[in-house]
Amino acid sequence: MSDTPSTHDTTGPIKRPTRWHIGVFLLPAFIVYSAVMILPLIETLRLSLFNTVDGQSTFVGLGNFQVLFGDERWADDFWNALKNNVIFFIIHMLVQNPIGVALAAMLSLPKLRFAAAYRTAIFLPTLLSFVIVGFIWKLILSPIWGVSPYLMDLVGLKSFFSPWLGKPNSALIAVSLISVWQYVGIPMMLIYAALLNIPEEVIEAAECDGVTGWSQFWKIKLPLILPAIGIISILTFVGNFNAFDLVYTVQGALAGPDGATDILGTLLYRTFFGFQLQLGDRSMGATIATVMFLIILAGVSLYLFVIQRRIRRYQF
């Protein structure tokens, strides 16, 4: 199944029938994806080079980007959102993924009873919609309903309760942790799979060498699941920098208090579609979308071309 026949032979190249089936296999996906996703997205990104001047849509080159980074108000909002987004991502990396790894490590212990029940329970939040997750957690953390203060009272920590979602310095952390709660099932599942893929012989060899318990995890299993952790990191990155729904349902489109939970997704939503009296600004919205796309692209490229190449893969 070669590309094209090369022509440096005496008997000449062989003519072959076109392999129509490749086209047939690719076409449905290509058509739907291009027509419904790519073309509309291109249309949107194109808008970032245009703006309304005197009521007319005019090509302004990189003018919108100049406004976004040059105008103090725009730049403040943007950097604030980016900073919050980075914190959002860091919390996921520091909390969600380690918890996911730990849960997976425990679940993959041989002959663990009830493993399926645990797995199902922990994966459950991942299946819920933002509408549900946002509403439930607002209720639980609400100082009015009293579930959280009650629960903290049970463990003698009531004095530590505070209206986290309403305080500028705790709101972002609280929202991030809700998101972690919702999504921890995904790293757990993927790491679990990677751990199960380590052949029993390798673990048995480690047992014979006296590498057991924690040191077995650190010295044997962890290095072997690094590629999976790499994939999870990049999925977390892409997911976090595209995130929007959870902040929107929990904290509203203004991502309060005082913009403390504003991430790129919410900034984009407000700008692009407008909110309350604020009118949607398609051009600036598209500009922010383009910047987001570039950030994500940069992250993914960094992963693909730098990090992924350094992670050693092992064949079992």
């Binding site: 199944m1 070669s2 190249p13």
Partner: protein, 333 residues
């Protein structure tokens, strides 16, 4: 029925040439084995014959018909894969019958051919099982059965024995030899194991680096290797090579002597050396010695011999059993 001709068949992946112009003639009913080290292109060549890879250029005819652009299923071939490649979701019977069913063969005939093949391979008991419920040897027999059922012009085997253990390998080798005799079919067989090649083949094709080094019957290759590569590859343990200049021979570059064509003596002989290692195999004894004049030598003696490490001995090549090679490695005849 079942002859095969290859004419200047080439194959390149991008700029890398893996098959560099192969010409080959296989007669009806012949058992031909492609042998060579890994990466020599033997499997690629087999897959080109099967139609699983496209040749970049050249011509392939089966029974006189050009098949270069014919899809595998229409070439009248059957193939047995190293990994068995059984359809995991089908029973043994369906695995064997699928090709015929696909070709629209009547049900009764499929039934009959499957029965015949499974009898030939003693697979009757397993017809209803799925591949996962079979042992490695049974799976390999099913894979062979699947090929037999198709009654092909050409059987293609791609290292069919390398996933089996040693004892099973010998058995299956015998079985394949028996099948060849019973079916009188043309078989092309790829292996990297020269013992398999020597024991099964009517004709061996030695390949290296995408080029045929020599074609011939097992004994032709053994007795009259065309070049250094073939000389070294065929025969076990491998041929001893000595620089001709060390022996004062001017009209050759290298002299080759097979281990079994050296005699040993404690008293006198052509090349003095010191024993460095001895292998007792029962029927044979292999002695390795380090000679100042000609370097490391392997000597194969028939029966039991009691040499010890550090013994000083003399080796002498049997007259008329040495091979001479020129500067390009070609045999001088």
């Amino acid at each position: 029925m079942g002859s095969l001709q290859l004419k200047s068949v080439r194959k390149s992946f991008g700029t890398v040439d893996v098959i560099k112009g192969i010409d080959l003639d296989v007669k009806d009913g012949e058992f031909v084995i492609f042998v060579g080290p890994s990466g020599c292109g033997k499997s690629t060549l087999l897959r080109i014959i099967a139609g699983l890879e496209d040749a970049t250029s050249g011509s392939i005819t089966i029974d006189g018909a050009e098949v270069v652009t014919v899809p595998p299923a229409k070439r009248g071939i059957a193939m047995v894969f190293q990994s068995y490649a059984l359809y995991p979701h089908l029973t043994v019977k369906d695995n064997m019958g699928l090709g015929l069913k696909q070709a629209g063969t009547p049900k009764a005939e499929i039934e009959q051919r499957v029965d015949k093949a499974s009898a030939m391979l003693s697979l009757e008991k397993y017809l209803a099982r799925r591949p996962a419920e079979l042992s490695g040897g049974q799976r390999q027999r099913v894979a062979i059965g699947r090929a037999i059922v198709r009654e092909p012009k050409l059987f293609l085997f791609d290292e069919p024995l390398s996933n089996l253990d040693a004892a099973l390998r010998v058995n299956t080798r015998l079985e394949i030899a028996r099948l060849h005799r019973e079916l009188k079919a043309t078989m092309i067989y790829v292996t990297h194991d020269q013992v398999e090649a020597m024991t099964l083949a009517d004709k061996i094709v030695v390949l290296d680096a995408g080029v045929i080094q020599q074609v011939g019957s097992p004994m032709e290759l053994y007795n009259r290797p065309a070049n250094l590569f073939v000389a070294g590859f065929i025969g076990s343990p491998g041929m001893n090579f000595v620089e001709a200049s060390r022996l004062g021979i001017a009209d050759a570059k290298t002299i080759g002597v097979r281990p079994e064509h050296l005699t040993l003596s404690r008293d006198s002989g052509d090349w003095q050396g010191k024993v460095v290692h001895v292998e007792h195999l029962g029927a044979d004894t292999i002695v390795y010695l380090e000679s100042e004049k000609v370097g490391l030598l392997t000597v194969r003696l028939f029966g039991e011999h009691h040499y010890a490490v550090d013994d000083v001995v003399f080796a002498t090549p049997t007259a008329g059993q040495t091979h001479r090679f020129d500067a390009e490695g070609r045999a001088i005849r």
